[in-house]
Symmetry: C2
């Protein structure tokens, strides 16, 4: 099992493209992922009551149909809070891709990201479909273009692919994602597309992706704002030629592990590129009585504005971490908590049994000054653990979001 | 019923003082509120599992005793996460005040605010008690000094007092509070002391304050971080001479209304002075089916980092408001929501039935540029309403909290 290049085109039979259509001022704004053959499809979507038009479209298709061929994505306009016209425009986007590819419209999934409340510039989008389809290609470069075209305030594209063997067959899972702001997924990420040439039943693909996001995308938070557009779509086209996975056998376990390598990698990329972030902040809660408690505690730490600003300031203000654990709703004994920080610069125990150790502030600052920092809290109640990913809260987060539309 | 000056000394028989003892570098750091006679006492405290030593002390006293005489408060060190030594130090603070005032130690309540995890500098504090008690005085100036001495990152002191009549008797309620950061009260505010000369039974005083905070301090959020030290204490010494309120009669209703005038006024002052805030942001949710829904929706809007940065940028990015309502957990029909903004510069409907109106961006920016801005969301499900208070999220919030300890 190893990482390879290629993102969404790493698996056999997947093409991609990314172009500038004119939705945004300058940057690429339309992407397409295409499978040469029908692919089993699954997805998880935002839990926000306010759901964007493409989310509603995808949820319906994935529920009613087993397979899909393509995912068209645009950045710049979210197509959320746009009423019936928004749904019509979304359908027009899917239909124009379907016609250009000569496939059924219900085999085209859609995704949008950007400003809420604006209608899609549907003329620009339908005009963009022709060059978008024309530039579909295999290979790393095409995947890069697609990953780039779904970015909004992201500062870099997010791609990952893993290859592994099932029996004698080489199988690949690849993916791309976008994140940055309004990131607090609760079922899925902002936008993510995963492709695999594995042969797997719809039932198990659904189960695998739903179980996976609990420990991957759902553990990411940039700003506690769960978007209206969160979508994670996975396409499995079976072209690897492995024996179809239809039961939870060893092959399924390997597939799930590889999937997790891709999704956790993308999750960390997303957290590290949170709007305005200067560093990736990882929180591990260990020793919890139940997994659900570990999840709540780790997310409570990762989302605290006071913890996030302290991390930005390289300040080992650990009281804020205990405070965030304390208001999470989980019962624990504050007088038993141990707290550690770790990074490439070393590791340090800040708190033992709820009170400060005699630690070196100098070393603490050095540890916190790295690009990736981990805080580990042990609540000493049991064996359950969880890991969450976030980032620091900086001047630039405020800057980016105070004038996002201008 | 009218506002008057005087804060915690406005009611008969209350003295106050505020001094510099040496806990902080330069600013006043110890305050005392004292009643000439025994006062009925009630309070509400943080729901954080991690409770500061003074919170534990007060909760015990208020549970076990009906009356109290004094509240001693320090700023600079929170005395939270300080173990057994923290509890001993807190008790020493209470005892030294009790000795100096010649009153029982269990009639002295305590409150602390500041850095978590540091021990109280108990020598400095006990030395400070003598001048603190010596400077106790009636009148506005003394109240000002006390209100000033409990400030941390607050930029101004927060006081309020209201006078009203019960029968022929003039009764007064006054209070002071501190807020600024780590503000997301859930039972009480950061630190608040309310004094009244009303004569009222313990049972009804407890009921009045617990009902009151639901609509006042518990509706304030600066950063969603519920502190370890939140404390609101109310002392009623009966010196006004009104007939004791022992049933929920008209006098009780008037008392509750006056109390609410004080607490909501202090709540707004606290929100407006949120760390780094440039403006007070008020959110009213109307037309909810249940009060609890209105509370959740309004607090979800007020706490969204994306809404708060947009308010800072005077940007009518209303999609973020609908998004924050959508992930609140409350079920509503997004296609029915109306949204308005209001300030001294006018009012404007941004959204009708879930979609943008043809509003003027110029006027929207003008409205949002005021010092106090209100957003009103109508979900058209019923008659329940709630109002929450917060502030914008600015560069200065990050600045203040990235180097709070340095």
């Amino acid at each position: 099992m190893k990482y390879i290049n290629g993102g969404v085109t790493a698996a056999k039979g997947f093409k991609a493209s990314g172009i500038y259509a004119g939705i945004k001022k300058k940057k690429k704004d339309m992407a397409l992922v295409y499978s040469d053959v029908e692919a089993i499809v699954a997805g998880t979507f935002t839990t926000n009551v306010v759901k964007a038009a493409p989310v509603k479209w995808d949820m319906k298709i994935i529920k009613e149909f087993e397979k899909a061929r393509a995912v068209v994505l645009n950045s710049g306009v979210a197509n959320a809070c746009t009423g019936e016209l928004g749904e019509i425009n979304n359908k027009l986007m899917a239909i124009s891709v379907a016609e250009e590819l000569n496939i059924p419209e219900n085999s085209v999934l859609t995704a949008s990201t950007g400003v809420i409340g604006k209608q899609l510039p549907i003329d620009i989008i339908t005009k963009g479909v022709k060059p978008l389809v024309a530039s579909l290609a295999y290979g790393e470069e095409a995947a890069n273009l697609a990953a780039e075209a779904i970015m909004t305030t992201d500062t870099y594209k997010k791609e990952c692919a893993v290859t592994f063997t099932l029996g004698d067959t080489t199988v690949t899972i690849g993916g791309m994602a976008k994140g940055s702001g309004m990131i607090h997924p609760n079922m899925a990420t902002m936008l993510g597309v995963i492709t695999t040439d594995a042969s797997i039943s719809k039932e198990l693909l659904v189960e695998a992706i739903q179980a996976d996001v609990v420990d991957s995308f759902n553990m990411v938070s940039v700003d506690r704002d769960t978007s209206t557009n969160d979508s994670l779509i996975i396409l499995a086209n079976g072209l690897a030629g492995n024996e179809e996975i239809t039961t939870k056998n060893d092959d399924y376990d390997i597939f799930v592990k590889a999937l997790s390598m891709v999704t956790i990698n993308l999750s960390k990329q997303m957290a590290a590129d949170g709007e305005g972030a200067t560093k990736l902040f990882e929180t591990k809660v260990i020793g919890a009585a139940q997994k659900s408690q570990a999840i709540i505690l780790s997310k409570s730490i990762i989302t605290s504005s006071l913890v996030k600003t302290a991390v930005y300031g390289n300040d080992a203000n650990w009281g804020r971490i205990l405070c965030a654990m304390g208001y999470s709703g989980v019962e624990f004994d504050p007088d038993k908590v141990d707290l550690f920080i770790e990074s490439a610069a070393g590791s340090l125990q800040l708190v033992m049994d709820g009170m400060a150790t005699d630690y070196s502030e100098e070393l603490a600052t050095k540890i916190l000054s790295e690009k990736m920092v981990t805080a580990v809290a042990d609540v000493k109640m049991g064996d359950a653990t969880a890991t969450a990913w976030g980032c620091d809260l900086t001047y630039d987060y405020v800057k980016i979001n105070a004038d996002y539309r201008s």
